[in-house]
């Protein structure tokens, strides 16, 4: 009675941003947002 569901490996957002040279901007923005959340 094991139900098996297929999973698909997608391209991660990190990979997409890295390809577009946007990863650094994203991580900096995220760090800023998280520091605001922390405070």
């Amino acid at each position: 009675c094991v139900v098996i569901l297929p999973l698909k490996k997608m391209k991660t957002l990190r990979e997409t941003l890295r390809e577009k040279n946007l990863l650094n901007n994203f991580l900096e923005e995220q760090a800023y947002r998280l520091s605001k959340n922390d405070s």
Partner: protein, 322 residues
């Protein structure tokens, strides 16, 4: 009611599966996430940019939908969703969960570009939003399983071939015996780790630490100073916020060995170094000290090597070579 899941970082989420909600069914692509316990999908009334690029649920098109109404807010490591609770029939393959509560997001921040519509949490009900019984618990109480377990096989080489299984374990997906590890507390899928070593030397977690086994993220996270040390040991250098290594290093670097419950779980360099076009990156990421100085997060990179079984009844995780 506010629920916080600081671990889930959708930036590295990779494995998704399809579920349907409602009558007639509306299809969604979700992450089967052992790091959280809520199920949510975007609502058709959501006006956030992320909702325009994802499938949205229309309650008016489902005859079995009931509005619960309670507002929900879920904080993730890099995003927030806000919305309300509803209830409907949810199908995962042949499994049917009746009157299943789930979140409908009306606002989403930080989910733009995510390769999934929503999240299906598989952690313990104690960390679920009040009034929202997790789907696994609902199916369990409806007698859907002979055994209250689920398991993941994550394919190493192909986009297809990975599976999540419910109600038992298909032994064709692993080699040898499953090693069982008790969970540290029945809230998260959290286990005790003895140490992390390379070349016979302990490089992190020297006095023991805790590790989240999280299918919702793909990399390995730990405290920044310890991760930096591991990256330095592999001669990685910081490039645009990531640790880059020479691609040839894959041939010479030793495995990173996670000792859990007295058993070594080696991660070979082919697994912990990812190749992207002409550059190679370490998958060890810092930043987890915000949560606790002693926590690690073992994501898909680890789980591709080790088939994982999550046993709710006995509150334990089974690992065996995939």
């Amino acid at each position: 009611k506010i629920t916080i899941h600081p671990l889930r970082n959708y930036l590295d989420t990779a494995y998704v599966g399809n579920i349907t909600i409602g009558t007639p069914p509306q299809e969604f692509r979700v992450v089967f996430d052992t790091g959280s316990a809520n199920l949510w999908v975007p609502c058709i009334t959501c006006t956030s940019p992320a909702c325009y690029t994802h499938n949205t649920f229309n309650p008016q098109n489902s005859s079995s939908f009931r509005e619960v109404g309670s507002p929900i807010t879920i904080f993730y490591g890099s995003g927030i969703i806000q919305g309300f609770l509803g209830s409907d029939t949810i199908r995962i393959g042949n499994l049917v969960s009746l009157k299943q509560s789930f979140g409908l997001s009306q606002e989403e921040y930080g989910f733009d570009g995510a390769p999934f519509d929503g999240v299906l949490g598989l952690a313990f009900p104690s960390i679920s939003t009040k009034g929202a019984i997790p789907i696994f618990d609902n199916l369990w109480s409806q007698g859907a399983f002979s055994e209250p377990v689920f398991a993941f096989y994550l394919s190493k080489y192909k986009p297809e071939g990975s599976v999540v299984m419910f109600g038992g374990v298909d032994h064709r997906y692993y080699k040898g015996e499953l090693n069982w590890i008790p969970v540290s507390q029945p809230h998260h899928w959290l286990i005790s780790m003895n140490h992390i070593s390379m070349n016979g030397n302990i490089v992190a977690c020297s006095h023991g630490c805790q590790a989240f086994v999280d299918t919702g993220t793909s990399l390995i996270y730990g405290p920044t100073d310890l991760v930096t040390n591991i990256n330095k040991l592999m001669n990685a250098r910081l490039e645009n916020s990531e640790y880059a290594v020479l691609c040839d290093a894959v041939k010479t670097l030793p495995p990173v060995i996670f000792n859990i419950n007295g058993i070594d779980y080696p991660l070979p360099p082919q697994a912990y170094i990812t190749k992207d076009k002409n550059s190679c990156m370490s998958i060890f990421q810092g930043g987890l000290e915000n949560l606790s100085p002693d926590n690690w997060l073992l994501g898909d990179v680890f789980l591709r090597q080790y088939f994982s079984v999550f046993d709710r009844k006995n509150e334990r995780i089974g690992l065996a070579p995939a």
